[in-house]
């Protein structure tokens, strides 16, 4: 598997957001500044979340995995954000339900063939509740970046 980057400057710690929309807006504003996404990315991801939300109930510390079509992105990488307090997110399993989300793992890709690689890596993290709990409460971007690298080496 090729290396799927998680740059430390795209790891957001303790974002204060009242909603999933606000959380995505905060993160996307920085990514747009960095030139990693195109104008319109935020609108595209909000529209996709409204129809096909990505909150995952992990029966503990919950995670959301927002993503949208590759055409809106200029690069392929992960972006991680943790929240100061859990953010209400609609559930992927049932959009009428909500889950309280403590961490967001977003994937950007500029080529559709990279999508499965991104998801495989994300799944390796979300299926390990001990790791999710540690990362969601982490105060170190290095620790979070390292965890994703190690996940790949296993």
């Amino acid at each position: 598997m090729a290396f799927l980057n998680l740059p430390e400057n795209d790891i957001f710690l303790g974002i204060e957001a009242e909603s999933s929309e606000e959380a995505l807006a905060i993160v996307c504003a920085k990514l747009l500044d960095e030139g990693k996404i195109k104008e319109g990315y935020l609108e595209a991801i909000l529209a996709r979340e409204a129809e096909y939300p990505t909150g995952l109930d992990l029966e503990g510390i919950n995670v959301a995995i927002p993503h949208t079509d590759w055409i809106w992105s200029n690069t392929t990488q992960l972006v991680v954000a943790t929240f100061a307090k859990p953010v209400t997110w609609h559930s992927m399993e049932d959009p009428d339900e909500t889950v309280d989300v403590s961490m967001m793992i977003m994937s950007l890709f500029d080529d559709p063939s990279h999508q499965i690689e991104a998801l495989t890596k994300i799944m390796g993290v979300v299926q390990d509740q001990g790791l999710v709990a540690r990362l969601a409460g982490s105060s170190s971007v290095q620790e979070i970046a390292q965890a994703f690298i190690q996940r790949e080496e296993q």
């Binding site: 129809e51 096909y52 992990l58 998801l119 799944m123």
Partner: protein, 98 residues
């Protein structure tokens, strides 16, 4: 066991359904069933595929909001979260044997 036709579907980017396709094939192999014919599509394309194919069951990775006319649905969200994955695999195994 007969070869089954299965729709595996997800929201729009074909990410989670790709994972579910691999898992369904894995289940089929583990019980010695013939590899099923899998139609991978977006939720929005499910009805069109149902009208043109004889489908045995559907594995969506989220909630299907359309009326699938009684075709059995086995939710595959567990393939993403890992929560309850064994139960879903058992349900798929049963459906493949049916």
């Amino acid at each position: 066991m007969e070869k089954k036709t299965i729709i595996v579907c997800c929201g729009s980017s074909m990410i989670t359904s790709t994972v579910a396709v691999a898992k369904v094939k894995e289940v089929a192999a583990s019980i010695g069933a013939p590899e099923p014919r899998i139609i991978q599509c977006k939720f929005a394309e499910v009805l069109a595929n149902l009208s043109t194919h004889d489908v045995d069951f559907i594995v969506p990775t989220g909630k299907l909001k359309v009326d699938v006319g009684g075709v059995p649905v086995i939710k595959g969200t567990a393939f993403v979260t890992g929560i309850g994955e064994d139960k879903v695999k058992a349900e798929i195994a049963e459906a493949l044997k049916a």
